[in-house]
Amino acid sequence: MQYFWNEIVEKTTGIPQKLNKSIDVVQHMEAIEVGTSEREPVWQMDKVRLFHYQTSHEIKVKTPVLISYALINRYYMMDLQPDRSLIRKLLSLGLDIYVLDTGYPTRNERYLTMNDYINVYIDGAVDFIRESRQIPALNLMGICQGGTFSVIYSALHPQKIKNLITLVTPVDFSTNDGLLFRWARHMDVDAIVEGFGGLVPGTFLDMGFQLLKPMLKVRNKKTSTNLWMMRTNCSTSCEWKNG
């Protein structure tokens, strides 16, 4: 049993110092810049802005691509870091890229509907690109919720879209594949919108996503826990066996 306690003492010694150091590291962590690719705002309606990315690469595909991203996140998710950027990759392949930034909604935007996002903002951006570039149609790339909007937009305005590309886009909401689809069926959307004052917070969605993997935090913390506590290895088991 002595070995067992020695192990605990060994593993727990220095924990306060380690904690202090980790707090210090977190507090002095440098801010991380995201969305660093060079771009310029070319159009705006309300809070929605259209950016055009600058490129030094040769444009190989003449028809520009408009990227429509989800409302629950920001467009720079596709341009996180210089070495982790879908935008940079597409630019290097010779594509001409525009991206729609829907901004952060406040209570001022509580009366906006899907119609506004699809038939006003996306349509406004599409028309701007078509007119400024003197082209009849462009390529539309929709990601996540932006993909759902893009599918609907393309169905409503097929003459304005040359190619539709969708990534991680939910389309069939009647499926039973996935807890979110099942849960959503029993949710009173009006009560949710009203309850949150017309602006459903990201934390609400975050809670739903966390529940998809309910044991994740416990699983992840096991490693950290081992710093604090003992692990029952063979020697410990032997101690028990003997005594």
């Binding site: 977190v26 209570r107 849960w183 009173d188 009560a191 990201g202 529940l211 044991m215 506590m229 066996k241």
Partner: protein, 434 residues
Amino acid sequence: MDSTKNFIDAWMNTQNKLVDNLMDTSKKIQESFQKGEVVEKSVELYSQWFDKQKSLADSMLHILKNQWKPEEKQPDFVNFWLDSQTQMAKMWMAMLPATGSQPDPAAFASYMENMQKMYADWNKGYGQLFPSQNGQPWSQMAQAFNPQQLHHFIDNTRTYMKMFELWQPIYKMMQSNTMGLDSLSKMMDVEKYKEVLDGIFHFMDGNKSAGFLDMIQKYNEFAMQMLKNSGSANVFESFKNFMPAQMLDKNFNVLSQISQQFSEQFAKFINPYFTMVPAGREKEMGRIAMDIQDMFMKYFVKATEMQALVYQSGFMAIEKAVQQVMQKAQENTGTSTFDDFYNTWVNTIEEEIIELFGSESYSRLQGELLKLGLDIKTQTDKLLEMLLAPLPLVPRSEMDEMNAALYELKTKVRQLEKRLKATEKTDETAPSQQ
């Protein structure tokens, strides 16, 4: 269920008599109006009305006490529920005299004390869905290594430690070849395992609901002050006792039905009082406060049901995990470590919980619970607005009206701009008149 039926029958019967009494009194008041004796008669009529109401309520409580037989296989929590309701009815009747004459400061102070205690207990013991409604973004927590993060870190660490404690007797029995599934239920520390599940799913985490429920308390204090000693108290007093480890076999339908019946009948019971209070903001606030309390009752029943479902899955998971570890130990001679057991348990409980989350019954329950929680918040916001109405502040509802008007105006401007643009294009392409 006979006792439950008798309880409800007796309660309803009394309510009917109470309403009859009110109607009879109203008729007499009308007659006194016609005879021009309203001032002289009103005190006398009120006094008669009150005496009769009190007598009926006392009689009802007596009947209920004798009719309800806890030994008739009813779960404990039904008894708790009934005790709390009868207690509330008694308090109500004790406070009622003050409402007809001058407010009694002592009765009011006592009432407020009970209300505060009730919410403090509730605060301490319950509130699972509210963290997302407090509006505190997760990003705040992520900005620095704050105490809350440390709290979560330690919480998760506790899971590992508590599972380790649970594992020790299991391991010892396995070592001595005396372990079997039948012995698991005997030697398993049920309370400790429940703590593990509570820690993971944050049941009973009062800290998270503190802000919201404190707010509720203040609304209620104010609303109740307006209504002078009225309303219910101690509704939730015994709720905190509903969470024993043996809750797995409780029949939530019974609680739900009684809660529904009680709410309906209590509404009838209290309605005469509201007819006496003049129409206005205070009366409306009183109504909303009552509605919120009613919704809390329903929320609690649903949330407890959900908690029980998670416990059931949790208990199934540990049985399966022990079974798997035992089988593994029998198949090879290697030593089973705690990490083996912990990993098996985490994998098993995740499977069980995800299966539960995917079930129709859980999804429906979650939807109902969410709606109730948000309805409570909506009503609470409404109450807050009414509370702040005398202050020179622009309430949210007025801002929303303005935002709605702005939205409509913007839409109209866009449509006009579009038409103007189309007209300009037509003009440009049209052949010149000259």
